[in-house]
Amino acid sequence: MLSILQNPPGNGGGGGDYHLFNEGWSHFLDRYRALIATTVKRFCGENKFTNASEYNKFIDDITYDVLEILIEKNYKVIRQIKATAEWQFKGYLFIVTKNESIKACKKIPPIDAYDDNVRADQREVVREFENTGYQRWENFHNMASSIRDKQGTRSKNRHRDLHIFLLSSFGGFSNEDISRALSKEGVTMKIVTNSIHRIKGMLNNRLPE
């Protein structure tokens, strides 16, 4: 596919075939859109935005920025990629997306102003951590460990239940998707629903009256 994209038709390109080239792009988008979106999410968390639709728009904008970088000057960047294996190309795409995400993320004003007592350089460090996906890493661990504490060690299926709950709440998967994904492990829709229900029940018990 990369070799087709590296040979654009007309205008100083390699004189490639229009049909093949368009098909190549459509495959490219099918294949890498999810990778771009996931990378953006990793480097610019949703907590920077006041609502989900604003965040989705941001992800779309970055995706177009990345595509623009790849195709500008008659596909110069794509033509210069020397990747011989797909993972090398994915690595390249990851780096371009990461850089664009961090750049764009820095321009977003914080929702809540930082404490005035925190020095400017410290604020910069905090922002940097937020930008690099540290926040998401921390949220994952906080969520998992607080549920683990509540679960105790008695339940035989506690690891499975927690995994299902994390897929649902942190990964954003539907119950149906989770049961399909874990069907090889004997996980049915009923198990998914019950596991989530059990953990939600535990968490609700922790909330103050």
């Binding site: 596919m1 495959h27 099918d30 294949r31 999810a34 990778l35 996931t38 990793r42 294996a85 797909e86 993972w87 994915k90 998401r136 890493w137 994952f140 661990h141 998992a144 683990r148 690891h159 499975r160 927690l162 995994h163 994390l166 897929l167 942190f170 990964g171 998967f173 998707d177 399909r180 994904a181 090889k184 492990e185």
Partner: protein, 122 residues
């Protein structure tokens, strides 16, 4: 190292179910065949040994350590753990402890499920 690609896993699943889409590119066909060969070359027992040996007790150092290994990811998705409760529990425990593997797994599953969905709607 080849990174696991959920979309290709879904296409392999469709092929194994005898529902392979007719409009696959040559490149995809070649990759699916390669995955099929890899899958057939590892028995469930071999996979368990690999997982047991490769599964870190704590969070991976980076995202390339465990789940990023295509052979492990492929085996886990297509064989599962069947009757081995102990291995299954260790796997779930790792997934709940390791952010990198969890994110990568979510990524692979998203690609896998969306390709199956696309096929269903064809």
């Amino acid at each position: 190292m080849d990174y696991p690609d959920g979309r290709l896993f879904a296409l392999l699943q469709l092929k194994l179910d005898g529902e392979s889409p007719a409009d696959l590119s040559e490149e995809d066909r070649a990759k699916i065949e390669e995955l099929e060969r890899k899958l057939k070359s590892q028995s469930t027992e071999t996979l368990w040994k690999k997982v047991a040996k490769g599964l870190p007790n704590r969070e991976c150092k980076d995202e390339n350590e465990f789940f990023a290994r295509e052979d492990i990811c492929l085996g886990l998705m297509f064989h599962g753990f069947k009757d081995s409760d102990e291995d299954r529990n260790r796997y779930f425990q790792h997934m709940n402890t390791c952010f990198y593997c969890f994110e990568l797994y979510s990524d692979v599953m998203r690609g896998y499920l969306s390709e199956l969905e696309k096929h269903k709607n064809r």
